[in-house]
């Protein structure tokens, strides 16, 4: 990239060529006010707030007022933000925007973290001159997740541009014209897009807000924020978790340049609040509450019979490593079927070859093949990334016409709707079909064959026509991408994806999505599938099963789970919430959920990331509880010590320690403060009934303080950031100050460390079509209900569709089942049967996890329920 030199308010600057002046200014830390511009959405010039005076060069004395967001940077440009006429324009724009704004900051959730407030203060408008009646709007009920308060709207059009243009939603739009423009739905009802929650952050004022937070409201400055990692799929989005009074009030996006950028999905945002639901707070033996001592004794007795450990794809590396240490490496297994365990191991192997694509890299792809994965259901944020891929070709054509991509609306037009080739090879209708060149439907067991055919075509061998076309497109691309996962319950798509990449060459990338937040971490810890654990129990090599934070029923063949419960003398289950596994366990031990403990997770790229405790004094982390069960205390008193042990036991995972500074890390101001300096009631909020002011609770596992004392904002290293912390900018609009380019990496680099290098993959599992009675399972993935714990969160639960069992009408007729009849799969929960000709014959499609475990390899029986 070439550079241009310009001056801003007399100071010489050098910036990347080809960008707009507003992006460039913010990147330099120059605070140009703006509304309609958004780092991920580009420039449209609607609000007219970013007015600056621009002189084209040394000879242009007069210059002219221009919108910074609509002006390309140019060599020799002289920019004056401080120019009085430009400043006056900005102040008047605010005054105009305030004409109809209700000035209800005191009762508005956004207050204190409101971009409109910030900009109003920044431009100096403070006296109201409009003496007429304001126009008012009716608000809509947009469902359980978001509030709608249209009178606060300043018509920046960010909401529709995000919702429709970026996220592909079609039920939010703008109605009417002139000063009555209205942003909403055709009628009341929940916003359909699984990314709607981002509106709470995209909207620069208080129109859209998090409804749950609004109900249990605390001002932004009265909440303490903690950097956390989403646990609800393998993408590993970075979050801010905001807490007050021991309760997580709200979860928001935390910028990460390679992963989530400015947006997360609703599952992540609202599902994280499951922490309040179905909690396990007390140890239990045989269904009855037990005290710590009795429990410890019972556990010791059970462990003495020899135990297998069953690790979890959603628990931290630390907890899995602790369990592995407790039972011994050879008796440590994964709480998922062997097909899944092996497939994830294979993914790690392919990724270790350096082919892995981050979400950011996905967005840059110019030809895509998706093999089997319903991304919107299994890794929603990745689906959002794939949507941006779809814009690449249009942007390229626009560029040929001299229209830069950042000039958003113009680039869309100039791009003539051109699309890069995207082939979706999935079993059922896919939410991404609208961006697909080829939406090809193949039953799960034929997906890999298609991929192999593409690979064959690429090698010049004979192949079916569709595969040849796709191969052709991938071959012509500069940045081809192949995507696969374990969504269909089969691992062969991963092999096929790898084969396509190999056939394409070095430049081809793979985006592989294992099912859960730490699936890859579990695989790297060397855990084999649940079958091994069952075999060990059945052959008497162990009498006890210790299951750490995993509901087996959700994930594995129910027959296998039954065998485990039958074979184990004692089942010990650790978890934060009641599950179908803890309900049956003999001994139940409560452990921390994501909000109570620090831990490390390995995302789909093989990037280890650290999440920290958002509340203090919660239940102990799984690894701490496990340490307490060991006959000899292992000396893991802190996370840092645990990570040292982990590095010794599993050298592959040693870099995990580097994902964030250790607890001893100090800045000149000390630790990094979770609470902002403005926090009020800090000395009283946790002290009900106590007179003396307590010392803030300590966090042994992080260089973060549960107080306002310490360093704040941008001073903190990226992995420890508790806010964007730019003075005067209190909303998510501050993010661009901390990044290298509007949606580039964070200054100081994006957090996370790869733990893949040097990993050797297991051999692929020979996949054979399951035989016997029943139908082949086809798990249906769903963005809202996709996570075992997340779907319990009260508000998200209201957005989760009812679970489905669907059959092809011919199969239903053969079994003798009718549309709407109550049926169950393998004796599970009964729901009304859906007949759908889109279900491939011989398959039962059913909601993944809830009605059909993820792991394939078995046949499922569909029967009428009484």
């Amino acid at each position: 990239m070439s550079k241009v030199r310009l001056t801003i308010d007399g100071i010489a600057r050098e910036v990347e060529a080809g960008q707009d002046l507003l992006s460039a200014s913010l990147g330099l830390g120059v605070e140009v006010p703006h509304f309609c511009w958004h780092a991920a959405l580009g420039s449209v010039g609607a609000c007219r707030l970013c007015a600056v005076r621009i002189h084209d060069g040394p000879d242009d004395d007069e210059g002219r007022i221009e919108m910074a967001c609509m002006t390309p940077v140019a060599e020799g440009q002289r920019v004056e933000l401080a120019d009085p006429e430009a400043a006056e324009m900005r102040a008047r724009v605010i005054e105009w925007l305030m004409v109809n704004h209700p000035h209800d900051c005191a009762v508005c959730e956004e207050g204190g973290a409101c971009h409109l407030q910030d900009m109003t203060v920044a431009t100096g408008h403070h006296r109201r001159r409009f003496r007429f009646e304001k126009r008012t709007h009716r608000n809509q009920d947009l469902g359980p997740l978001l509030t709608h308060e249209m009178n606060r709207c300043i018509a920046c059009y960010r909401c529709t541009r995000f919702y429709r243009g970026y996220a592909g939603g079609r039920d939010l739009d703008v109605f009417g014209a002139h000063d009555r423009a209205y942003f909403g739905r055709y009628e009341d009802g929940p916003l359909e897009s699984p990314f709607a929650g981002n509106l709470a952050e995209v909207c620069p004022t208080g129109v859209f807000n998090d409804k749950g937070w609004s109900e249990h409201y605390a001002r932004k400055w009265d909440m303490a924020a903690t950097p956390a990692i989403c646990t609800q799929c393998s993408v590993g989005c970075n979050l801010f978790a905001a807490e007050r009074g021991g309760r997580v009030r709200r979860v928001q996006n935390r910028y990460h340049g390679a992963i989530n950028g400015h947006f997360i999905c609703d599952r992540g945002r609202f599902g994280a609040l499951h922490v309040a639901e179905a909690r396990l707070d007390h140890p239990r033996i045989g269904g009855a509450p037990a005290d710590a001592e009795t429990t410890r004794a019972a556990v010791q007795e059970a462990l003495a019979k020899g135990a297998v450990g069953i690790g979890s794809p959603r628990a931290s590396l630390e907890t899995n490593a602790a369990l592995r240490r407790l039972v011994g490496a050879e008796r440590f297994f994964a709480g998922v079927g062997e097909a899944e365990a092996r497939a994830v191991g294979r993914m790690a192997g392919w990724l270790a070859k350096g082919r892995g694509a981050s979400l950011k890299q996905m967005e840059a792809a110019d030809a895509v093949l998706v093999l089997g994965e319903d991304l919107t259901g299994t890794a929603p944020r990745a689906a959002l990334a794939l949507r941006q891929t779809a814009r690449g070709a249009a942007d390229a054509l626009a560029a040929e016409k001299g229209v830069p991509a950042w000039l958003d609306n113009a680039a869309r037009v100039a791009g003539e709707g051109r699309r890069p080739p995207v082939a979706l090879v999935t079993p059922m209708t896919d939410a991404l079909d609208d961006v697909a060149t080829w939406a090809l439907r193949r039953p799960p067991e034929e997906v890999a064959a298609f991929g192999q055919a593409v690979a064959a075509a690429l090698r010049g061998e004979a192949a079916e026509e569709a595969a040849r076309e796709v191969a052709e497109a991938l071959k012509a691309a500069e940045r081809p991408l192949v995507i696969a996962g374990f969504g269909t319950g089969r691992g062969d798509a991963v092999e096929a994806a790898g084969a396509v990449a190999e056939a394409l060459g070095e430049h081809a990338r793979l985006a592989l999505f294992p099912p859960e937040a730490n699936s890859l971490g579990l695989a790297l810890a060397g855990a084999e599938g649940l079958e091994g654990a069952v075999a060990a129990l059945e052959h008497g090599r162990a009498g006890t099963a210790v299951i750490a934070e995993v509901d087996l029923v959700e994930r594995a063949d129910p027959r296998l789970v039954e065998r485990l419960f039958a074979a184990a003398e004692t089942v010990i289950a650790l978890d934060s919430a009641e599950t179908r596994t803890t309900a049956r366990a003999d001994i139940v031990l409560p452990v921390a959920d994501w909000s109570e403990a620090a831990g490390t997770l390995v995302n789909h790229e093989g990037r280890a990331q650290r999440s920290f405790a958002a509340v203090s004094g919660g239940r102990p982390a799984g690894w701490r509880v496990l340490a307490g069960l060991m006959a000899v205390r292992p000396g893991w008193d802190t996370l840092d010590a645990m990570l040292d042990a982990l590095a010794r036991d599993l050298p592959q995972l040693a870099p995990a320690k580097e994902t964030a500074p250790g607890a001893a890390f100090r800045l000149p101001l000390g630790q990094v403060a979770r609470a902002p300096w403005r926090m009020s009631g800090r000395t009283a909020q946790d002290l009900a009934g106590r007179v003396p002011e307590g010392t803030p609770p300590a966090d042994d596992d992080a260089a973060l303080a549960f107080s306002m004392e310490g360093a704040q904002g941008a001073d903190a290293p990226p992995a420890l950031r508790t806010s964007y912390g730019v003075p005067g900018w209190h909303s998510a609009s501050a993010a661009p100050f901390l990044t290298d380019g509007p949606d580039g990496p964070m200054a100081g680099d994006d957090p996370g460390v790869s733990v893949l290098p040097g990993f050797t993959a297991p051999a692929p599992l020979a996949e054979h079509a399951p035989r016997g009675a029943g139908l082949a399972p086809l798990p249906l993935h769903e963005p809202f209900s996709g996570d075992e714990l997340g779907r319990r969160a009260q508000r998200l639960a209201q957005r989760c569709p009812a679970p489905v069992i669907a059959l092809h009408p011919d199969d239903a007729a053969e079994i003798g089942l009718a549309d709407g009849q109550r049926v169950a799969v393998d004796g599970g929960e009964a729901v009304p049967l859906t007949l759908d000709p889109a279900v491939p014959k011989g398959h039962v499609a059913a909601t993944a996890g809830r009605l059909l475990p993820r792991g394939g390899g078995h046949r499922a029986i569909v029967e009428a329920a009484e």
Binding site: R92, H178, G415
Partner: protein, 435 residues
């Protein structure tokens, strides 16, 4: 050849000519000559030499706009070039395109075919405002006739050129007349203007090279091709070519459409319209429709064309005069204009969406005698901050500020009197404002 080439052939009852009738009047000869004998470049050069300035408001030279249109295969992407005829005509005081559309559709089609030929366009779309139902009907029928006669369709007159043409009725809103908003409307979206650059010739309808011209501009083209550039240029009294279809309304005895040489003065046009009505004494006039600044009697002898009117401190715009005698109150006229522009804002950009309604509310109050002196600060602020080009997203806001700004400058005392006397001083002193 008449001195009124554009309107001279219109029937008094405005019934459009059939194709046969039109051909009897020499119709389609220019198309035959143009497509058979002239290259697209030659047609373009002729229009250039004729100094045809766009009649839709900005006065941009038509040929210069056409030269931006790439030849087939030159532009990136796939698809045709488009030529669009702008028949939205919703500017207050404008009614000149109506006669050209209603009574003279074949003249428009001829011009459009030649313009399409010169701009390598194969698709012609005529956007006509909803209220002009006769125009929509007449132009549509004339297109059918022209198609049947082989002037439109495949391989027109054996030239190898395919040209399709159809009418798109607007669903209503003034902003649809803004050329980039018009393109959005044709794409089935809200008529929100687009950023320029990229200009429509780079990226217009569906991202394809596109030219938009006003109905009157297009109606001139066949005459230029038929009679030559010099003839057309010679019709004018000034450096800008052709006649102009003026329209005069407001306080004149016989408001009407008048085709006269470019450079005709307001004095002449008012005279031709039966003279000033009311008390017969001119107070002021807008020379170019609602979005043009006020001029006073000292400008009566200014030759009306884009250059001269600009030099006189206003804008020639659509060339449609709104006349006020001494018993007519400019504050009332401005109040009507502000209400209109506020209502017609597309709602995209802040100055226009929120600034105009505020100004409109103030104007309504002032006119009704309920204004405050401090209101004038807001009005002046709105003009100063929102008026200059580039402050709002498109030119609607700037257009709206022309009458307000010039009104405040020229008739400031009247504004203040409204406020201090709490009534309209003009109505009070001259009786009710009635014709």
């Amino acid at each position: 050849m008449t001195d009124k080439p554009l309107t001279g052939r219109a029937r008094p009852d405005r019934r459009p000519h059939t194709l046969e009738e039109w051909r009897d009047l020499g119709g389609y000869e220019a198309v035959e000559r143009g497509l058979r004998e002239l290259s697209p470049e030659r047609v373009l050069d002729m229009v250039d030499e004729a100094r045809l300035n766009g009649r839709g408001g900005a006065g941009f030279p038509a040929a210069r706009k056409w030269r931006f249109m790439p030849k087939p295969g030159e532009a990136p992407g796939d698809g045709p070039n488009y030529f669009i005829v702008n028949g939205d005509e919703m500017e207050p005081g404008a009614f000149k395109d109506r006669i050209l559309l209603e009574a003279l559709p074949h003249q428009l089609i001829e011009g459009a075919i030649l313009a399409a030929y010169a701009t390598h366009s194969t698709e012609i779309i005529v956007l006509i405002r909803d209220a002009y139902r006769d125009a929509i009907r007449n132009v549509s029928r004339a297109i059918e006739e022209a198609e049947a006669a082989g002037y439109l369709g495949r391989d027109v007159l054996g030239s190898g050129v395919d040209v399709r043409m159809w009418v798109h009725p607007s669903a209503g809103r003034y902003i649809v007349g803004e050329e980039t908003a018009l393109i959005e409307a044709l794409e089935g979206k809200r008529a929100v203007p687009r950023k320029r650059p990229p200009f429509p010739a780079q990226s217009g309808l569906w991202g394809r090279p596109t030219t938009v011209n006003n109905v009157e501009t297009v109606s001139c083209v066949s005459h230029i091709v038929a009679n030559g550039s010099n003839w057309f240029q010679g019709l004018s009294r000034t450096q800008e070519g052709g006649t102009k279809v003026f329209a005069v309304s407001g306080r004149v005895h016989a408001p009407q459409v008048i085709e006269a040489p470019m450079g005709t003065t307001a004095a002449e046009l008012i005279e031709m319209s039966g003279g000033v009505s009311g008390n017969g004494v001119l107070r002021c006039f807008q020379p170019g429709g609602g979005a043009s600044g006020f001029l006073e009697p000292d400008a009566l002898e200014v030759p009306l064309d884009f250059g001269h009117v600009r030099a006189a401190g206003s804008m020639f715009g659509t060339g449609t005069l709104i006349v006020l005698d001494e018993t007519a109150c400019p504050v009332g006229v401005i109040a009507r204009h502000m209400a209109f522009y506020a209502r017609e804002s597309c709602g995209w950009c802040t100055p226009c969406r929120d600034g105009l309604p505020w100004a409109a509310k103030i104007m309504a109050d002032i006119e009704a005698g309920a204004g405050h002196l401090s209101d004038l600060d807001i009005l002046r602020m709105t003009v100063q901050v929102g008026g200059p080009r580039g402050r709002a997203f498109c030119d609607l806001m700037g257009g709206a500020m022309s009458p307000l700004g010039t009104g405040l400058d020229r008739f400031g005392a009247l504004f203040e009197q409204h406020i201090s006397d709490k009534c309209c001083p003009v109505a009070r002193d001259h009786g009710r404002a009635a014709a």
